[in-house]
């Protein structure tokens, strides 16, 4: 039986091929994905009989590969799942933000080396992390923008706690050929640029912030994120804080209705377009601006100083806010436009999310141990990877807050 099958398959392919080629009308029916297209084109459109056998073989081979791939992937899934539950090779699963992923992945690997506890994290984006935690398919989530009350209300496992881990900055990057020196911008001016009210680089309001510098008369081209993003949340949160017109208009969110400009996909997409288009201005995470050697603007903070984004300036922004936190804070706090002379104004926390009421006592203990380690030891690695560590006092408070995680009685 097993031996005769390939021959039968070949025959059946032969028939299909002949049928397919009998009229050129096959084409309209084929509008699937590109890979299949290329296979099908080379396969079905060849009429000459001496060609057909090779193509039958190719088609059959492709089918075999597909089938084999399908088999192996499901087998792998199965074995991964069973071995995970049997030998505990993956102890915790998490999903969410891409921004802190480089740091988190270092944490998880260091933590596995130190304690043997393995953590599997998928950087699928903040929104995906929130969705998966709400559905209860992961043990913890991660997000760059705090969950809204509506999102919290939809979580199936009850109250969700936000634990800030590190901080990031959003840089305003630009491309001004021939412009040397430091570009200075204030919050309201940035907002008016992104609202489309300031259209030229030599606008009097920009010139007033940069005395003694000659600015070109070229058009300003705004570049923003086209995909939903925590970076957009932080940036629009800042613009809402400094500009009433922005707060009334586009507002804050991971996707906002941009009044002007081009959309680029991902930090790399925005950075790429800024680099390619003279006169462009856009916002990217600090690390991307540094990696792409994009010049970044110094932004006027709440104390009136012009600050360029840096790790120290971001931690300073957090310190300014952390000192004033009420004891019962839920840490869904914004630190944009933070007070403090050294603070960079477009800064934000990134958070880990977990349920207050844990149902699995083993996992809950592992989660708490990991977070304690991350807040104590992990923070020390942050700066080396371009993330700003939490202010020390805040990290201490968060370690104490771990005690508020409750574990349901066994069997719950």
């Amino acid at each position: 039986m097993r031996e005769t099958r390939p021959i039968k398959a070949a025959n059946c392919c032969d028939n299909l091929v002949t049928l397919g080629v009998s009229g050129p009308f096959v084409a309209p029916y084929l509008t699937a994905s590109s890979l299949q297209h290329s296979l099908l084109i080379t396969t079905i459109t060849h009429r000459r009989p001496r060609m057909s056998r090779r193509h039958i073989a190719a088609l059959a081979y492709a089918a075999l590969i597909l089938a084999a791939a399908a088999c192996t992937s499901s087998e792998e899934d199965d074995t991964a799942a069973t071995s995970a539950s049997r030998s505990g090779s993956v102890d915790l699963t998490g999903a969410g933000a891409t921004f802190p992923y480089p740091l988190y992945s270092k944490w998880f690997s260091d933590y596995a080396t130190a304690t043997g506890v393995r953590i599997n994290y998928q950087s699928i984006g903040s929104g995906g992390g929130i969705r998966q935690l709400s559905e209860g398919t992961v043990d913890f989530g991660a997000t760059d923008g705090p969950m809204t009350d509506e999102e919290l209300g939809k979580a199936k496992g009850g109250a969700i706690l936000h634990f800030p881990t590190v901080l990031g900055a959003v840089a305003v990057a630009y491309n001004l050929p021939g412009f040397q020196g430091e570009l200075r911008l204030s919050g309201p001016v940035v907002a008016d640029i992104f609202l489309g009210n300031i259209k030229k680089w030599n606008d009097p309001r920009i010139a007033a912030l940069n005395p003694g510098v000659s600015l070109p008369s070229s058009d300003i081209l705004v570049v923003h994120r086209s995909d939903g993003s925590g970076t957009t949340y932080v940036f629009s949160d800042y613009l809402s804080a400094v500009s009433p017109a922005w707060a009334r208009g586009p507002g804050r969110g991971k996707d906002v209705a941009w009044p002007t400009g081009l959309g680029g996909k991902g930090n790399e997409g925005v950075a790429g377009q800024i680099k390619q288009i003279p006169g462009a201005i856009g916002y990217v995470e600090l690390a991307y601006a540094n990696q792409n050697n994009l010049p970044v603007a110094a932004i006027q903070n709440a104390a009136g100083a012009f600050i360029k984004p840096s790790i120290a300036a971001v931690t300073a922004a957090a310190a300014g806010v952390a000192a004033q936190l009420p004891p019962d804070t839920d840490y869904r706090i914004s630190i944009v436009n933070s007070p403090g002379a050294e603070a960079y104004p477009i800064s934000s926390f990134t958070w880990l999310l977990l349920y207050r009421q844990q149902t699995d006592s083993v996992k809950a203990r592992k989660l708490k141990d990991f977070l304690r380690w991350a807040l104590r030891e992990g923070e020390k690695q942050a700066a080396a990877l371009d993330y700003a560590p939490l202010p020390a006092a805040m990290a201490d408070r968060l370690v104490q807050r771990l005690d508020s995680i409750r574990i349901a009685p066994a069997g719950g």
């Binding site: 039968k8 059946c12 050129p24 009308f25 096959v26 084409a27 309209p28 029916y29 084929l30 509008t31 590109s34 297209h37 290329s38 084109i41 080379t42 459109t45 060849h46 009429r47 000459r48 699928i124 984006g125 903040s126 929104g127 995906g128 929130i130 969705r131 509506e150 999102e151 058009d219 081209l221 086209s226 995909d227 939903g228 993003s229 925590g230 586009p250 507002g251 804050r252 969110g253 991971k254 996707d255 906002v256 209705a257 941009w258 400009g261 081009l262 959309g263 680029g264 996909k265 997409g269 790429g272 377009q273 390619q276 288009i277």
Partner: protein, 307 residues
Amino acid sequence: MTGAATGDRLYQLAVTGFALVIPGLLALIAIAIGVAAWPAFSTAGLSFITSSEWNVQAGKFGAAPAIYGTLVSSFIALALATPLAVGVAIFLSEIAPKWLRQPVAFLVDLLAAIPSVVYGLWGIFFLVPMLRDHVVPFLRDTLHLGGTPLFSGPAYGPSMLAAGVILAIMALPYISAVTREVLLAVPRSQRDAALALGATKWEMIRDAVVPYARSGIIGGVILGLGRALGETMAVTMVIGNRPEISASLLAPGYTMASLIANEFTEATSDLHLSALMAVGAVLFVVTLIVNGIARWLVWRVASGPRA
């Protein structure tokens, strides 16, 4: 004897099963998307396809710019790719010396094997700056098209035109491969008859070969159109992702596939997710309509008089 009959029956059952799986899948996809999209359709009503306001914060979802962008970018792609692809196919099947045929045909087919994200990168770093710095000045200053609405306004680079050009390059191998094979399938006698009547090579191709193959050529064009309508990654990287309908081809635009790809990962509100599903449903329907029109076209051409 019985064994052979059983084999036949099994074979018949198996292929029938295979054949029915496809319409079954199609129905499942349609149902799943329709159900998920329903809340957005019922909230937005007809304005979902007529309104240009896509504002996630305000919960307003109007997909008109994306629908417009999908159709226009695909149309540009076909307008550019069809003559080129048919020309390539005619050259390869009728004119090219034998030693040149296989290598050129292979290279054209190879275009179909390039991943779309690679096209996108090439678009960002080569095509878009090239269009902005050379093609647009040529169109405006040399051809004096700057006054027409199609080429007015500032040209930043990422634009509907860039998306159309990159889609044209991506659709080209599909159209040319099908056309080439269809032309090769034209009977020898058709050519001989034309030549015997004193036709030149060009007249033979124009009057005897191409008309004989035209339904197949249209089929190839439709295959290219299918590719263009659904292409996501490369378009997202060069179109500028701006949900706005503009007459100018130099202005940024948006397509349905890009909209879904951009916003799905961070869509957390139920209505937002549903709106993206609804965009998917509209894309599905648009593709079906376009394919329907194409099949009608093929049928009409095929049943018309032949040269």
